[in-house]
């Protein structure tokens, strides 16, 4: 219900040494009308220009410290609150590629009252302003 708002384009930044970035990060929101426990976030698929990045390259931090998606599955005590930005960290040698590219985020949620996974996705054309 909030797909178009998932990615905060202005928040995109490289991570690692400024002259040799090892990845990038951006702020994202959960596309659901309530907060959700992290263990029920099954997928956070990040892709650039339609190319999916490996699941192992993605980490998540809602404020409690970065977690791999594997670790998130057992993070029963942590939640991603409604409307709150969390950081998506992506390992990507060289950082976000130069110039404008399509950055996409797909969230797959395990919502207990739905028989099928709930999927939210957003894609925005973004570039690093530096």
């Amino acid at each position: 219900m909030f797909d178009k708002y998932l990615i905060d384009a202005a928040s995109l930044r490289n991570t690692g040494p400024a002259d040799a970035p090892t990845g990038f990060a951006f702020e994202a929101r959960l596309g659901y009308y309530r907060g959700l426990g992290l263990s029920m976030i099954e997928k956070l698929d990040v892709s650039i220009d339609g190319n999916a990045l490996p699941r192992a390259a993605v980490r998540f931090d809602e404020g409690g410290g970065p977690l791999t998606l594997e670790e998130m599955e057992a993070a029963y005590e942590r939640r991603w609150p409604f409307g709150a930005p969390a950081t998506i960290l992506v390992d990507h040698a060289g950082g976000f590629p130069a110039g404008e590219h399509e950055l996409a985020l797909l969230q797959q949620l395990r919502v207990s009252y739905l028989p099928f996974p709930s999927i939210n996705s957003d894609a925005k054309r973004v570039s690093l302003s530096a």
């Binding site: 219900m1 909030f2 178009k4 708002y5 929101r29 009308y33 309530r34 907060g35 959700l36 426990g37 263990s39 029920m40 099954e42 599955e73 029963y76 939640r79 609150p81 409604f82 409307g83 709150a84 395990r110 919502v111 207990s112 009252y113």
Partner: protein, 334 residues
């Protein structure tokens, strides 16, 4: 004065709250300004530290309500039965999660809890002693495509009757009374590529109350419908028009109503949900409780225009006042 009170669910303002354009206090101030003093909350939406709510937080809410002359009406619970991958919460864990919500209701001073429709009647049966002790009514939300008469709903009512409890029942969502197809749905599907003549066919079929599966088949198979057209036809599965005459039969089992709507016209009428039929039935049977606005139009228009939940809710309440006053007047005449 009417026994029907007016209120809002914070759900109605999800667009502005999600985007940080409104705080919960902004919602309370607005609701109060239109005389909708009953506040329904979704703690998992509106309380960022959920489920850890300390006494200071409870006090902060109570003070905020008092500042605006408002009061809580209902607590919308969730039940994360799929908390762990590949397994379902045990029955004991489910009961414990519901008990946690009941305790929080009680601490917040809330006497109605919306129970998600998928919660099993036998689980609710086990929660009844807690609900009674904490004086919270557990109402299973009757949400489309279910309806008041669906056998799944009757199972919960049977449990309540068997136990003789006043703390278990239902909580109808007025989306079950969709008499006309919402113009907001149609417009969005047309923006997504539904051809106007196919959209009109779907609207006409709904207007005639033709079994939805027939329309889906016509659109998907016979008309070779495109993706948007098939998706539009499939919304019919969730667009039933239940019989408003049943309201009186179930009134003893509900104390709160989620007044679902998708958009109000400028002259404050609802083009889709049959409040014109529903409210007279509520008045006739002397039902006491709150009509709690549940605006769900944001997701249908946000791609093309700014969402103004306040204006939408305001219009719905103008309609409520008009329809309640008319029904009360009719009642006195008869």
């Amino acid at each position: 004065m009417s026994k029907i009170q007016r209120g809002v669910s914070l759900y109605s303002f999800q667009e502005e709250m999600f985007l940080g354009q409104m705080s919960v206090e902004d919602v309370l101030a607005f609701a109060s300004s239109i005389g909708a003093k009953g506040i329904e909350i979704l703690p998992e939406q509106n309380m960022p530290t959920f489920p850890h709510i300390d006494d200071a937080e409870v006090a902060r809410w109570q003070e905020m309500l008092a500042r605006h002359g408002a009061h809580f009406t209902c607590y919308d619970m969730f039940l994360d039965t799929k908390l762990r991958k590949g397994e379902t919460l045990s029955d004991a864990e489910q009961v414990e999660s519901i008990r946690r919500d009941l305790v929080l209701c009680n601490r917040l001073g809330i006497r109605n809890m919306r129970v998600l429709i998928f919660v099993r009647p036998d689980i609710l049966e086990k929660c009844v002693p807690y609900a009674e002790e904490l004086d919270v009514h557990m109402g299973v939300e009757v949400h489309a495509p279910w309806h008041l008469e669906h056998a799944w709903i009757l199972r919960t009512i049977d449990v309540a009757d068997r136990l003789g409890t006043k703390h278990l029942g239902i909580l109808p969502d007025m989306g079950v009374f969709m008499k006309h197809y919402p113009p907001e749905f149609r417009a969005r599907f047309e923006r997504q590529g539904a051809r106007p003549e196919v959209a009109q066919f779907i609207v006409d079929q709904h207007e005639q109350k033709i079994m939805c599966e027939y329309t889906i088949y016509e659109v998907a198979v016979k008309m070779g419908g495109n993706k948007a057209e098939i998706a539009m036809a499939e919304t019919l599965r969730h667009a039933p028009y239940a019989n408003p005459k049943r309201i009186k039969d179930y009134a003893p089992w509900f104390r709160h109503i989620q007044a679902k709507f998708y958009g109000m016209t400028e002259d404050c009428t609802d083009p889709a949900i049959a409040y014109e039929d529903v409210i007279p039935e509520l008045v006739k049977c002397g039902w006491e409780g709150t009509l709690s606005s549940e605006y769900e139009g944001n997701r249908w228009i946000q791609d093309v225009m700014p969402v103004d939940s306040r204006e939408q809710v305001r219009r719905q309440h103008v309609m409520f006042e008009r329809l309640i006053a008319r029904a009360e007047a009719q009642r006195e005449i008869v």
